[in-house]
């Protein structure tokens, strides 16, 4: 089944000083990611982490939570994103299972590090980094973890009032977006002369009409978690 969504998004004109840092990232992709993030948080079902030890609801992430979510997606016949990485005779490395992707907050990275030795494998401990993505932090069992500062967090909403992190675990067929016919993405740049009477500002913008789609709702789960401890982030 395919569900569709119509969205016309536009990053408004910004001053030159403001848009300069944005040139370092692909603003179209970033805008798409934020839209899809909010959409998935709104529309996909949730599993509360229960494998951690902090006694909250949800708990911090434990390795059993990774197993549970992967087993759920496997049971639902979700497709994994990445094939495994075969073990090599390299000190400190270990094989990586075929995996789903999990999108997590950078604020959880200390918790992932805390799972080292009980299931977490840092991306730097992969036998080969050739398939690792730039934002990839590591792997636990059948899940490879991507971290971003833009990952969704519900501040102070757990049973004990702690921050709740939405860790979105996706199978390959779970989500997509569809560009609407006749309204392809436009990258717009107008130099200062054309952007205003006084030529003070330039314009950089993207404009696109897009449909977010959960193509298979059984192949996606938001794994909700808290952190093991507050680290003042």
């Amino acid at each position: 089944m395919i569900v569709r969504s119509a969205t016309i998004n536009k990053i408004a004109e910004r001053s030159r000083n403001d848009f300069s840092p944005l040139c370092g990232v692909t603003i179209w992709r970033q805008a798409e990611d934020l839209i899809l993030r909010d959409y998935v948080v709104s529309a996909a079902s949730e599993i509360s982490a229960g494998g951690g030890s902090n006694g909250d609801n949800p708990t911090n992430l434990g390795v059993t939570d990774f197993s549970l979510v992967a087993a759920t997606l496997d049971t639902n016949n979700a497709y994994k994103f990445m094939s495994g990485i075969e073990g090599m005779d390299r000190f400190g490395t270990g094989p990586v299972r075929s995996s789903y992707f999990m999108l997590s907050s950078t604020e959880l990275q200390p918790d992932f590090d805390g799972l080292m030795g009980s299931g977490f494998l840092s991306q730097w401990n992969y036998p080969s980094n050739s398939s690792a993505l730039p934002s990839e932090y590591g792997n636990v069992f059948n899940i490879r973890i991507l971290t971003s500062s833009e990952a969704p967090v519900a501040r102070g909403t757990s049973a004990k009032g702690n921050d709740v992190y939405y860790n979105t675990v996706v199978g390959k067929q779970a989500v997509t977006h569809i560009n609407q016919d006749g309204f392809s993405m436009n990258l717009i740049y107008r130099d200062p002369y054309y952007s205003g009477m006084l030529a003070q500002n330039a314009t950089l913008a993207v404009k696109f009409a897009q449909a977010q789609a959960i193509t298979q709702d059984t192949a996606i789960r938001n794994l909700l978690s808290t952190r093991l401890s507050n680290l003042g982030v």
């Binding site: 569900v3 959409y39 529309a43 079902s45 949730e46 609801n57 049973a159 009032g161 006084l198 059984t218």
Partner: protein
Amino acid sequence: MTEYSRMAKGSFTAVGTSAIVNLPFQPDFVEIWNYSIIKTAAANKVAHAWWDNKLQDGSNNPTMVEIYNNASAVVFDTIQTNGISAFQAGQLLQYGPTKQIIGATAANPVVFNVTAHGYQVGDTVVFEGLYQTQFTAGMAQMSNIQFTISVVGDADHFTVKWDGSGSNYTALSASPSGATVKKVLYPFLYVPQVSVISAITLGATTTIVTTDYHNFEVGQQVAFRIPNVAAVPALSPPAWGTTQLNSLPNLLTPGAPNYGYVVSVTDNWTFVVNINSSAYTAFNVNIPIVNVPGLSFPQVLSVGDVNTGGNIISAGSPLYPSPQFPTSTNRVPTINGPAIRGAFVNNTSQGFVIGSGAAAADVSAAVTMIANTNIVYWHAYLHDLSLP
């Protein structure tokens, strides 16, 4: 010298003492005229209000107002909090101020006592720390769930749809430490969204009650995620009980989804699906509090194609009019429209809010900027240059 300034103006007839005005920008200055009061002077009413986002009075960003005071003389005043403000509902998970819970009834439905909560029917809230005795007794089973308020009893009490009458719930009293509530400012950025199930009535068709507005329409295809809680000691019926509604596995055709369709919508919280659940296990929210850590909630979510529920613009048209989302009294159009058929509604928006805060100096009555049936004209600006 204007280059990127934005200006907008408009008018509306007020419904209540607050209003949201959607704009293609977030203004830094807003001015409103209450024509009804200007035309017909009335004591303790606001004729003119204006707000600048840079104005700071202590920790407040007040709105300046020109009012008829208790003696019907025109005076200046301020609204220190909950006046005019800009908003951007483009990022999920924004919350209002955290408020202390004084108490809550262990009943069906649950009534919360929060001093001067300021909420209205239709507001969505989330609770935290609902422990009467830390981590051993209370109503923590309701934490981290979005509830849309169903009844506002008075200024200090409101009701949400949850059965807290079970033996595993302990009423809250005497302002338990850490028991708080806050408003979810923009709960429906995309609709219909995943919702937590509050109650299920089994039968030839199945009636579902959600904790927040479900935003479903007749014909909507829905899926269920109902965790099986391994309660200790075991419960009868088990929690959450009705796991037969789960989409997978379907025992007849393993791997095949087992979805239902909405056949009627009773109200914003309640709908009926075409699943015969007569032989299913009863739904049960009486979860032991020891099971709260790691507790996943029963959920219903939308799949399939009938999501906006709007009326087609004309026969044969591929388009719906601007999608709408429900409020306690009516349905409000989103700014995104028209939509394609079967679309999830992207309800992100921005603009300004006219709050229901009262004047600070004239306290002889609650002097709000607008009131029901007032004709209100507004101007909104986003300036290029703002000094300092």
